[in-house]
């Protein structure tokens, strides 16, 4: 009964499948015996969802009418200002900005792909990537092509990036590139300062010959990647860009505020040209009206209230930093043990996940079930969730993966 373009669309859900296998093992062996490294949210050491007391306190003190009234289609203006401030911290580029409230980071990515890639054209991202990029491209009539994230030395593969950009722009007049950094999902990779320079050089070269280039930076996990301004230093590079190189940043409250299910994000546009920003806000508002009308006003109001209270923000940042440190300690165990036992992993620099390249990820994950370890098989390897695997249970996982691969 569906339209022809939608016929047969069905999500493949490797995470759900892995998690379900895990839950079945828990039923038989008990939760203590099982290592669930499939879940993409921060769990405390006791396996319960980690939440931030300051966020909860603010949420509970809200006026009910503020929670349930409609928000403006583009978002509450003070929310958008707060989202911009949080996105850049002290690293605002010399440029004009605009923002549109979106249903989480997904909604932000949706709007960028819907409006900044031609129908039928390719959107470019790395081969290790969040599978939802592909779903959004399919839904909006685009397609996803990939460059190799890593070279043989496990550094950012700038040459493959340049080759793919060049080859697509032989066929396309414009190109949208999606880069998820720092704390890349699913690897934890982050572009270095000089890798960023090279990426921008490639894109500026294309812009200089008249191609319209859009760059979407997905920073969903940025607050789990290190010190606030250090992780955001690259954003300064978005100063004085050419007018036909448009940068967007996908802001999300999901991880930074443990506000996952409240679905609150924003798409932020950065351009030297105010007209590009106005156009960005117009088409974003149009897409929002079509997809969801407006997004969770209560969650926006919580952010406004929190950021307006200068005494509260340091308390919140400390709480959030504690979660980051908890995740980092777990990842450290895995990274160290990988090195000790000789398991090759993608360089991990922060974030929720660590990735192990593998020939047959599904086979490796299946084998790991013998050890009651559950991880997610991706196309290029195995994803281990440092966000949700306890410090204690993380010990020994690397070696068991190595054994499962043999």
């Amino acid at each position: 009964m569906t339209a022809t373009h939608a016929a047969g669309r069905k999500l493949k859900d490797a995470i759900f499948d892995a998690n379900q296998a895990c839950n079945e093992a828990i039923k038989i062996h008990g939760a203590d015996a099982v290592t669930n490294a499939t879940i993409g949210v921060v769990l405390n050491e006791d396996g319960k969802l980690a939440t931030l007391p300051t966020v909860e306190k603010t949420f509970r003190a809200m006026d009910f009418a503020d929670m349930v009234a409609y928000a403006p289609i583009s978002g509450l203006p003070a929310y958008l200002d707060a989202a911009i401030d949080l996105t850049f911290a002290d690293n605002k580029p010399d440029a004009k900005f605009g923002a549109i409230a979106t249903a989480g980071g997904t909604g932000a990515i949706h709007h960028a792909i819907a409006n900044y890639a031609e129908r039928g054209d390719a959107v470019l991202t790395s081969d290790w990537c969040w599978g939802t990029y592909n779903v959004i491209c399919t839904e909006t009539g685009k397609r996803l092509e990939t460059f190799k994230l890593l070279d043989a030395e496990l550094n950012f593969n700038i040459s493959d990036f340049a080759v793919k950009v060049d080859s697509l722009l032989k066929k396309q007049k414009s190109l949208l590139v999606v880069i998820n950094t720092p704390a890349h999902n699913p690897t934890g990779y982050a572009l270095t300062d000089s890798e960023w320079d090279k990426v921008l050089d490639v894109l500026k070269a294309q812009a200089s010959v008249g191609k319209n280039i859009s760059l979407l930076v997905d920073v969903a996990y940025i607050d789990f990647a290190g010190e606030k301004n250090a992780t955001r230093a690259f954003m300064k590079k978005f100063s004085d860009l050419p007018e036909n190189l448009f940068v967007m940043v996908a802001f999300s409250m999901s991880k930074s505020f443990t506000f996952y299910g409240q679905r609150t994000g924003a798409l932020i546009g950065i351009s030297p040209d105010e007209k590009v920003i106005e156009e960005f806000k117009d088409v974003g508002k149009f897409s929002s009206r079509a997809a969801w009308s407006n997004i969770n006003r209560g969650a926006q109001a919580v952010l406004i209230k929190m950021t307006a209270d200068k005494n509260l923000m340091p308390v919140y940042e400390k709480e959030r930093d504690n979660l980051y440190q908890m995740v980092a300690r777990r990842a450290e165990v895995f990274v160290k043990e990988s090195k000790d036992c000789g398991l090759q992993i993608v360089p991990y620099r922060g974030g929720f996940f660590i990735a192990v390249p593998a020939e047959n990820p599904a086979v490796v994950c299946k084998k790991l079930h013998d050890d009651l370890i559950f991880a997610v098989p991706l196309k290029l390897g195995v994803r281990v969730a440092a966000c949700s695997t306890s410090f204690e249970k993380m010990h020994g996982v690397a070696e068991k993966i190595l054994r499962a691969m043999k």
Copy 2:
């Protein structure tokens, strides 16, 4: 910088403009002197947002982790069950059902149009309609065509409906029809039992010659249209439909739970064929993943908690019914005074809005500003919000509109 399909997209926002003009008048003349008939939510007689105590109580008693965890992409299963039960009450048709959680009613309509109309094809609705249908069609690469809602006697124009369906299906293999009833936005019209029979006869005739017909019923305002089962009686007619006549209902918590900004709805599919339902759930889940990943879990959990408590639901229904009665009393004033002074209006049978057909709606609305009355100029007439105009201020509005039209 946008892709060609998005270039120049910009929302026209007649409601926002009207509301802004009103707010300027309030600054000069004070709120007491001004009649704001532009706002599309229920305001109490004191002009404050009406909320439901039982909803607030449930909301405030929620576990915080339940509010902020991710929901499944398709929605919490118990939420979907509750949405189905609330949608039909005692009028479940003899059919199979499926549901997908959506970002409000808008998200439900988005999914139906995205997946059940071919790119480039027309979607059919009435000429008096919610403008956002058009925005969704544009965004998803469809276009909106309309039939005349009313005939010369101000009854449902079944002949124009049949003509338009027939004419579109001469060019299209399939057709999606959108009907907003009862308590149609912006007129308050509702199809009678026999009008429903005629609509379904037209659609069944097309299905019988092999056309794939989808029907989306938008019931956003149903709980402001009368007694629960009386307003839903037409749903029984969706029993034993042909397999190629697929019915969807857009459920929304926005009005029924005064949960506007919490963005919680569902798209419900009704078919004799389980395969059609499975396909519906698959493509809906895919669209959800692409647009917003998942919707407000907290709001879903509130509905689950409320509907699980059989003692709570009658209390909630009483509170909601009080709001309905408050809106109905205001509408009654307008309808009676229209009749008394000879102002022709679209037959009002419930809901938030009343519509007055007019040749030059913008001119009429502008003229009304002299009386410090602010209403929304639509293409076919003037929209008066019974939901937000107080009982006291509603007196005299009809006559002033009549004068403004002369």
